[in-house]
């Protein structure tokens, strides 16, 4: 069967067809569509595959590991920075190993289309000593999922699959299986002590896993996804990984004149690289993300070959690659189009018209006119756009949850007023624990949980804490009189500004919850309601 699928969708379909029993994920561009595809899949519904969103990447990773412990196949999906959040269970899942196949799918975002950094997840794969896959095409992404589960179960380790934005968000025709594989039966290894990472057990596991590395590398050398394509001109060889392979091939419609080594499975297949450095005068290394292969090749076996890449300037040091970046590196002529036009202004994204965050910032700015030294610690979500004009309202944005904890640290240092602004989904992702720290010391901070009843930035997914925020704050020990709720609308400006003033003046931890639904999900809900009524 042929389907026109996004890379993300091909991955999801591949996992379902490989007998997936559960996907565990927190939304994050460019990985979100994988879980959404499974949520909309008929097969997943029939099989009751686990597909609800998790609170954050750490809870997702651990739940998936639990499913694997019981012998079933599980998938964890996240954007690259999510891997930082779940680094502890991720790295230690390399120590415990797995029972049912476990694939950790991480979508990197070079050029930072919608991210804080362009970290490269392949480093994490090496760090955790587990096999890593990096598809070049949507078809390969689909096919690899089944192979990844088989590999995971054969070597009893989780498998990291790394994609980048252009793979995740690009569509192509994919040939998919007619009949999906059955799910694994429930089973666990009653004798296995390696799941208990006490030093005594972990030391043994460490010896096993490090001992497995040679085999993992040999598998990479023999992998159908790592291809050495010889050619006559040995003045240069090109190593291209993942999506960079496509850009390379785009430069040479009639075939590359130089030997090409396509790498899509790690650990690094040193034998294949050794052949290239031995046979070619120079080697160009094209990889999407950071110079992961390049660094290792330079460090381990430079041989006599000259190594070129991102570290020597042939390719840009940062940002995404493109067909033109490869053309320049290879001395292939870049085609001339029209000159770029002066009458084009940048059009940055902005908060939607009518968005409740707008009213929150309007009120906050109004109040803070009287506190010129106030610092506002922002967080991650649509409301980060409050940095831009006309609001220019926040002074920091680092990682999910950092608003509350940074405000607390600033307050500890003597700052007042210290205001934190955080979204509802971000609060349940990583804000709750920080708020407990603040409440335990009655830190002098004002926390605004701007609740729009959804995870807005990533397209309006369910938010884990909806309906529970007051209870959560009370449960953490916040005094009732400093827990305030308001509807952010222009007509309520006097109420919101007064509330803000009072809580800033209060020398202790307070929480204000402005609550109004996101305009995008509101419109979607109205449409759905209309459609339902039309059906009746």
């Amino acid at each position: 069967m042929r389907k026109l699928l996004l890379g993300d969708e091909a991955i999801a379909q591949g996992a379902l067809d490989a007998g997936l029993s559960g996907v565990y994920a927190y939304p994050g561009t460019p990985s979100t569509e994988i879980t959404e595809y499974i949520q909309n899949s008929k097969l997943a519904a029939e099989r009751n595959v686990h597909r609800r969103w998790c609170c954050n990447e750490k809870t997702a990773m651990e739940a998936a590991l639990g499913m694997s412990f019981m012998g079933k196949r599980a998938l964890v999906c996240m954007k690259h920075v999510g891997l930082n959040v779940c680094a502890d269970p991720f790295v230690n899942s390399g120590m415990t190993g797995v029972n049912g196949g476990l694939v950790v799918l991480v979508a990197d975002d070079p050029s930072m289309h919608s991210s804080q950094d362009e970290q490269d997840s392949r480093f994490y794969g090496k760090f955790a000593m587990i096999p890593t896959l990096e598809p070049s095409t949507q078809q390969e992404a689909y096919d690899m999922m089944e192979k990844a589960y088989e590999l995971s179960e054969q070597v009893c380790l989780p498998v990291l699959m790394r994609v980048t934005t252009r793979m995740a968000h690009s569509r192509a025709v994919v040939e998919v299986k007619e009949t999906p594989r059955a799910e694994n039966e429930l089973n666990y290894d009653a004798k296995a002590s390696h799941w208990v990472l006490l030093p005594g057990n972990a030391i043994k596991r460490n010896i096993t896993v490090t001992g497995q590395q040679a085999e993992l590398e040999q598998r990479a050398v023999e992998s159908e996804y790592n291809k050495y394509i010889d050619a006559s001109d040995h003045s240069l060889g090109v190593i291209a990984s993942g999506i960079a392979y496509n850009y390379l091939m785009e430069c040479y419609p009639d075939g590359c004149p130089y030997p090409v080594l396509k790498i899509s499975q790690y650990p690094m297949p040193k034998e294949l690289i050794g052949r290239m450095t031995a046979e070619c005068d120079a080697v160009l290394i094209a990889e999407e993300g950071q110079p992961f292969i390049e660094d290792l090749v330079r460090g381990v076996m430079p041989g006599n070959a000259v190594i070129k890449g991102r570290l020597t300037g042939e390719l840009p040091r940062t940002g995404e690659l493109s067909p033109d970046a490869l053309k320049r590196a290879l001395g292939v002529e870049v085609r001339e189009g029209y000159d770029s036009c002066e009458d084009v202004a940048p059009r940055p994204p902005a908060l939607c018209q009518g968005c409740g965050h707008r009213d929150v910032y309007t009120a906050l700015n109004e109040v803070l006119k009287d506190y010129p030294n106030a610092r506002v610690f922002g967080d991650i979500g649509c409301y980060t756009l409050g940095f831009m004009p006309p609001f220019k309202a926040i002074h920091s944005c680092v990682d999910m949850g950092a608003s509350i904890t940074m405000a607390k640290g600033a307050s500890d240092a003597g700052q007042w007023p210290a205001v934190a602004i955080i979204g509802d989904s971000t609060f349940t992702h990583s804000g709750m624990t920080g708020l407990l720290d603040a409440i335990n010391e009655n830190a002098n901070i004002t926390v605004i949980i701007s609740d729009n009843l959804t995870t807005g930035m990533t397209g309006g997914q369910d938010s884990a804490g909806t309906g529970k925020f007051e209870a959560i704050c009370r449960g953490l020990g916040l005094p009732e009189e400093h827990l305030r709720v308001v509807v952010p609308l222009p007509k309520n400006m006097p109420e919101i500004t007064q509330m803000l003033r009072e809580e800033i003046e209060y020398r202790g931890t307070s929480v204000i919850i402005p609550r109004r639904e996101c305009m995008q999900t509101l419109q979607r809900h109205l449409k759905q309601k209309k459609a339902q009524e039309a059906k009746k």
Binding site: P30, A172, G337, V344, P349, C352
Partner: protein
């Protein structure tokens, strides 16, 4: 055949529905397709674009190289200009004439029009007006598709059939409105 297409506009203008129809037509012809989309941050009133490549031979890159696009289909005139370095010298711009002004420094509209008219092959249409006049307000973007038909190198009937397949689920009225839009666009081709 091989056609490299850039679809562009402002977040929320519905460029992906044009891509869906082209993709459907291409898929039905067993052509190879690659379509890089933009999701996430840039959708909140920011600029959006999609690279759509269709070919009878396998396609390597998901992204279109500089100077290689055969067609730019734009829902907004200034956005069409943003991708000029990607347009090959014989390529076409098919664009809506109506500026979407949501930034304080939007350039002078006359200048934008003059820049567009400097391009060798360009079709500028007031698709919203045309759609309104014909009672198909919600199908304005398909007028652009009709106007791009020759430049795309896809037979007209094949686009019609693709529209029937893509919009069929939504009922005859929606299909008819989109077919009408396609026809209006076709008429506007030179």
């Amino acid at each position: 055949m091989k056609t490299d297409i850039i679809l562009c506009g402002v977040g929320g203008q519905g460029i992906l529905s044009i891509a869906t129809v082209i993709g459907e037509a291409a898929m039905h012809e067993n052509l190879y397709i690659k379509q890089a989309e933009v999701h996430g941050m840039s959708q909140r009133g920011g600029d959006v674009q999609s690279n759509l490549r269709i070919s009878s031979n396998p396609i390597s890159s998901d992204l279109i190289a500089l100077g290689s696009a055969d067609v730019i289909i734009s829902m907004e005139p200034m956005e069409a200009l943003r991708y000029l370095p990607f347009l090959n010298k014989e390529g076409w711009i098919i664009t809506s004439s109506k500026p979407f002004v949501n930034i304080p420094n939007y350039p002078d509209v006359d200048k934008v029009m003059a820049d567009l008219n400097k391009v060798k092959n360009v079709i500028i249409l007031d698709i919203e007006q045309l759609a309104q006049d014909n009672g198909i307000a919600r199908s304005a973007n398909v007028i652009l598709l009709g106007a791009a038909q020759k430049a795309l190198g896809i037979e007209y009937e094949k686009l019609e059939n693709a529209i029937r397949r893509v919009f069929g689920r939504k009922g005859d009225a929606v299909v008819d409105a989109n077919l009408k839009a396609l026809a209006i666009g076709k008429e506007a081709q030179r």
